[in-house]
């Protein structure tokens, strides 16, 4: 054995800290239209390169190019734009509500709206969604009432979750939207289980799960890929790589040495990496994965490359750990602007109509939120009775909870 020098520990560090000038030129990317589109039934081993390239459809001039162009009707694109604008307006509004003390907490999805909106629209109504807290766009794209969402955030008397959950931890069975867990990653394997059940029953509905880049480090991520591969579950497994997990950059989840899409390779699954701010690319990739699932070909892992433009939550101050203007250097732009530009480029939209739609979205949100505020906000107005606190721990309340409810005076 030759003598070796002392070992040392590699500590991953994001490239830019507050005060530094960001430069994303080494982001692994591909030219719009460049990446090939395999058949959905092609063996995963034949297109591993897709886990490291970046599916993109929208080009710089607003054109839609290449084999992944989903060729959506303009009507549908405008609907997508509307959902994204609503999502953004809702986020803005609720964040302001938090600053005004009407709620204790809020989490925005700013800059990532295409992920949830395009994916919801690419799936069928009956497909079951297992989201994280940053896919409010799924609910909006499924026409879930913003009023209902705001009531949850306010924990008021109309809140379907009876004031039990932290703001934004929605649940909407009728919308096929699974109850959000505060414990990261747990939903990923649950989505696979649901999909297994659908296959078990000979159903045609598929499942989709979302997870953040940071949360991929949890065991549930590995469970999901393992069960998905072993039983070929009809599920779409989405990693939303928005670069950050609170203050931790994605290198701390292994993003320095490999893409998240490439995790699929070791399980024999297809992994696709897609420009998460490209509404068309996200749509196309999701449709492709859904078709695979529906044809009983099993799961697809999709890495959606995007950027968390806002703070992690209202409790966070990102300027403490990343350059305050880092987002403006993000090379994949803003999903709303890019879809708008595309629609204008193809003659299906105008700056005026856009301004009008954005204003309408804000009004719609404002009206719904006001209505919710009239019911109650955190700390004032109508809320559920504290007696309801003892319901739903079990299907039928056992004696000890009845006794405790009585202790509380009900």
């Amino acid at each position: 054995m030759t003598p070796h020098s002392p070992l040392s520990l590699h500590i991953p560090e994001p490239r830019f800290r507050p005060g530094e000038k960001p430069d994303f030129s080494d982001l692994r990317t591909s030219a719009p239209g460049e990446v090939r589109r395999p058949e959905v039934d092609a063996p995963a081993a034949e297109f591993r390169d897709l886990a490291e390239s970046l599916v993109r459809v929208l080009d710089e001039k607003g054109g839609a190019v290449g084999p992944w162009d989903p060729k959506l009707e303009p009507e549908r694109l405008r609907l997508g734009l509307r959902h994204m604008l609503l999502t953004r307006a809702y986020d803005e509004r609720m964040m302001r509500s938090q600053r005004q003390g009407k709620t204790t907490f809020y989490m925005k999805s700013t800059g990532e709206e295409a992920v949830a909106v395009a994916q919801a629209m690419a799936l069928d109504k009956g497909d079951m969604l297992f989201p994280t807290y940053r896919q409010q766009g799924l609910l909006i794209a499924r026409d879930w009432p913003i009023f209902e969402m705001a009531c949850q955030v306010y924990g008021n008397a109309v809140d379907r979750l009876k004031g039990r959950q932290l703001p934004v931890m929605y649940s909407a069975r009728e919308a096929g939207f699974f109850t959000i867990s505060g414990n990261l990653a747990t939903q990923f394997i649950q989505a696979v289980g649901w999909a297994m059940a659908s296959a078990y029953k000979g159903d045609t509905r598929i499942a989709a799960g979302w997870i953040g880049d940071g949360s991929t480090a949890e065991g549930d991520f590995h469970y999901a890929l393992t069960f998905g591969a072993v039983y070929r579950a009809p599920v779409i497994l989405n990693v939303v790589n928005n670069q950050w997990a609170i203050s931790s950059f994605n290198g701390l989840a292994g993003g320095e040495t490999a893409t998240f899409a490439s995790r699929a390779i070791g399980y024999g699954l297809p992994g696709l990496r897609v420009d998460g701010n490209d509404f068309l690319a996200v749509t196309a990739v999701t449709q492709w994965a859904a078709e695979r699932a529906r044809r009983n070909l099993g799961p697809t892992l999709i890495e959606l490359v995007t950027y968390r433009a806002a703070a992690h939550s209202t409790s966070d101050d990102p300027s403490k750990y990343r350059p305050a203007d880092e987002g403006s250097y993000w090379p994949l732009g803003d999903p709303i602007e890019r879809l708008k530009d595309h629609l204008i480029a193809v003659g299906q939209w105008s700056p005026e109509r856009h301004t009008q739609l954005a204003a309408e979205a804000e009004e719609t949100v404002l009206a719904a939120v006001k209505e919710a505020e009239a019911v109650g906000i955190m700390g004032s107005g109508r809320r559920h009775s504290p007696a309801t606190m003892f319901d739903d721990v079990y299907k039928v309340m056992p004696w000890h909870l009845r006794g405790q409810r009585q202790e509380l005076g009900f």
């Binding site: 747990t186 989505a191 297994m196 078990y200 029953k201 393992t226 069960f227």
Partner: protein, 339 residues
Amino acid sequence: MSQMNMAQALNSAMDVMLGRDPDVLVMGEDVGYFGGVFRCTDGLQRKYGARRVLDTPLTEGGIVGAALGMGVYGLRPVVEIQFADYAYPAFDQLASEAARLRYRSAGEFWAPLTVRTPYGGGIFGGQTHSQSPEALFTHVCGLKTVIPSNPYDAKGLLIASIEDDDPIIFLEPKRLYAGPFDGHHDRAAASWAGHPLSEVPQDHYSVPLGKAAVVREGGGVTVLAYGTMVHVALAAAEETGVDAEVIDLRTLVPVDLETIAASVAKTGRCVVVHEATRTGGYGAELAALVQEHCFYALEAPIARVTGWDTPYPYAFEWDYFPGPKRIGEALVRTMDARA
């Protein structure tokens, strides 16, 4: 009626439920083709196919997480964790998810999981095949915890658990699979044959959750036990001649306080026994409850006879096990205590 040991009775419960309800499925490590390391699922895959009786990857967290998603869909998964000692990797999915789904979604979502798992010592399993972790589950609201002590109850309670819409932790005293065990490890192993509670109906029946059974009536002291310890407590009562009333709790959460309190009101004395480590064990909850509800009837401190606060040591299994001698001494001590 047929004569069954506990493993067979559990098998029969799953058989009945697989037969009645197409949404019931059985899953776990080695439960399918092989029939389970304790043979509890023997023959079920042959009868119902690999789709209904699934071998799974070796990952308890994954198994419970996937089963939970299936439960949300509408199935009734019956999960086997090969040993209760291996439930910990699934603890997050059980405590944060299974137990809270219904609550956090205000009744929109739930998962009617049954998690079966063998627990307890007496088979020289060493520290990672002998644990009794029931107290970790009884502290988690939203879970129900069930422990049978004989074939008849095992089948009836398991069917009740599978039919229940709440998530259930179903702990099986592995030392009782093949026969009752009174703690006299130096005597020949007993078989269930001839035991009245090994006469088990072949068809569907259930034993209600939340109801204890008085397995021995007595006026001097109440003994609270479950699982293997029921038999050991009975032996201790017989051998000491103490006039003990022995209660088999059967369900730990929700516990049958009414039966317990009625007995202690009568006897004025109470001994709690379990195999789990003492500190923070379920016996602490029982002692707390009994003194809360029967304080003025109590004539002696409530005694706890339990496993020691150490891991279960392989070569000292019988020094660790709270056998009839230790229980008997506690009975006598409790009877002798001045009022």
